[in-house]
Symmetry: C2
Subunit: 327 residues, 2 copies
């Protein structure tokens, strides 16, 4: 079988991967997502990233057996259209991302899926979820996304299942970027944590977070900046991450009490960057809330790392479902 | 097809039903669960209740096509054994409830299942869940139990799914009867609410709750007592139920954000007794926490009332699965 292409489209970066028949990555490219312009600029950047990855693999993009894109926003799988992707430039409306990238790259079959769902599928089939019948993927990054596999199949409910970031962990609690109160993401999401840090600085508290951000040429608190601040023993970073761990512990335990899945998988930018020490801390924070505390479900780190989303997107293309759009 | 028998075994009452081929109830009996003695006494009370229901239906128990029992505690479906049913007298250990009741009633096929799961199955097949592919049943009573149906099939995870009562709604919050902190049940379970009311009285607060309890010859705050206290405009009852509604709103919304099921069904002793006004209040309390707030899932009342558990247990017998024990 010819290799397939996969794209993980995020608010910060575009990750492209060329994936062989057994899920092995034979070429990859990573570049920043355009921060200005609009959907057409993003489509062109995706096509360029795909071409670079294909060149590394020694194939033409037109020779790919298929291409999958994992995208934020609202996805219409049948048409390959993406709407209201608010983390992407000028994307308040709808754009036929699948067909347009197919056209630019000369690929006939382009499937578009939800970014969290494709990352979950990749971990389920090729990563930490292999051999498990049911799992919950928790992607801890800018927000906190969740993907569910039950009985070996993705569970999407009426189309919006897996919103673990918006499980309530504290009635009347902190305001979440989504506008609601007390969501897990209000304490654990990187965007919410940065918002909180800025507010604390305004109130006169001290932190190295923004100094480190400037020093490393960032315009926001990336996972790497949080990690570096911990290395500098920054008190605010430590306290905000303590709150994040406590919220993740309660929210993931709540999901485990409800779903009782075989395995819980921790991924996402912060999850991968902070790695094993934080996996262990979140597991410990879950313990007091777990109903099946004599047989707790395992919390494990995602295994496919930064490439998980792109590999999952390539799997999407290989399945032929959701329906591929002919570009 | 011959009628089947169903038993809903609770800490307070035993409900027996004889159910015809289309799920219609052709005989029923309800009696208190023995509060002293042990499992053998409970088994005999079940057999007596079944005989009374069968007499009403004009059949012999030995002529039933099967018998199902919905029970609290830990169930071993294969052997029909019930363990650690702490709401039942002298039931810290294990007892072969299915085989023993089969022996007493002369019924060859006795299936034993989880009480909440069978009540959910009944609502899914014959009640408020008919025609829906996925649902969450929330049984608001002494505790708060949950039953899940996804893709038309019960979801039990590793065996303990559906523990919606122990979803965390308030980090660091009130102590739950389960020993954990901040569970939904810590605010909404009838046992937790009674515990809280007793504590408030000790602290010098006033309420008509315990006066009404004594007047109606109860030894604890039943759903009927809570309902009467509201009719008397009792402030403590009102405030504790306000907290319960707020906790139920957050916990059920969290579950909906995660599972995105077609329909949410509210049952249980308190749910059925307080009925439509409280269904509407819980729905309103969910709204601020729902991620899909432009397309909220429906919250509806259970339709099978007090008989739901017994009817669901009878369905269990009809399915032949879990494996029936030969008495």
């Amino acid at each position: 079988m010819d290799p397939r292409g996969g794209i993980d489209l995020g608010g910060t970066k575009i990750q492209a991967a060329i994936v062989g028949a057994d899920g092995e990555v034979v070429g990859a490219d990573r570049r920043p997502t355009p921060t200005a312009g609009g959907p057409e600029d993003v489509a062109q950047a995706i096509a360029a990233s795909l071409a670079a990855a294909a060149a590394e693999a020694g194939v033409e993009t037109a020779a790919l057996a298929g291409l999958g894109i994992g995208s934020p926003g609202e996805i219409d799988a049948a048409s390959g259209t993406v709407s209201q992707a608010r983390n992407l430039p000028g994307w308040e409306g709808s754009f036929p991302l699948g067909p347009r990238v197919g056209e630019l790259a000369g690929v006939g079959r382009v499937a578009v899926g939800n970014d969290v769902d494709v990352a979950t599928a990749a971990e389920a089939r090729l990563g930490a979820g292999r051999g498990h019948d049911s799992l919950l993927g928790v992607f801890w990054g800018t927000g906190v996304g969740g993907g569910i596999v039950l009985g070996g199949r993705p569970w999407s409910g009426r189309g919006a299942a897996g919103e673990i970031g918006h499980v309530v962990v504290k009635l009347g609690g902190r305001r979440c970027p989504c506008g609601r109160r007390g969501c897990m993401e209000a304490y654990a999401g990187r965007a919410a944590m940065e918002h909180r840090a800025r507010k604390l600085v305004e109130e006169g508290h001290h932190t190295k977070l923004f100094h480190l951000m400037d020093k490393h040429g960032r315009d926001r608190l990336t996972s790497g900046i949080w990690s570096r601040a911990l290395e500098h023993d920054d008190r605010m970073a430590r306290e905000l991450l303590d709150e994040a761990v406590e919220a993740l512990g309660a929210g993931i335990a709540s999901a485990a009490n409800l779903l009782d899945v075989d395995v819980l998988i921790l991924g996402g930018g912060l999850g991968l960057r902070l790695g094993e020490p934080f996996r262990a801390r979140i597991e410990a924070a879950m313990a007091p809330h777990l109903f099946s505390d004599d047989d707790p479900p395992a919390l494990v780190l995602a295994q496919l790392g930064d490439l998980g989303g792109a590999v999952g997107a390539a799997l999407l293309a290989g399945d032929g479902a959701p329906a591929a759009a002919d570009g």
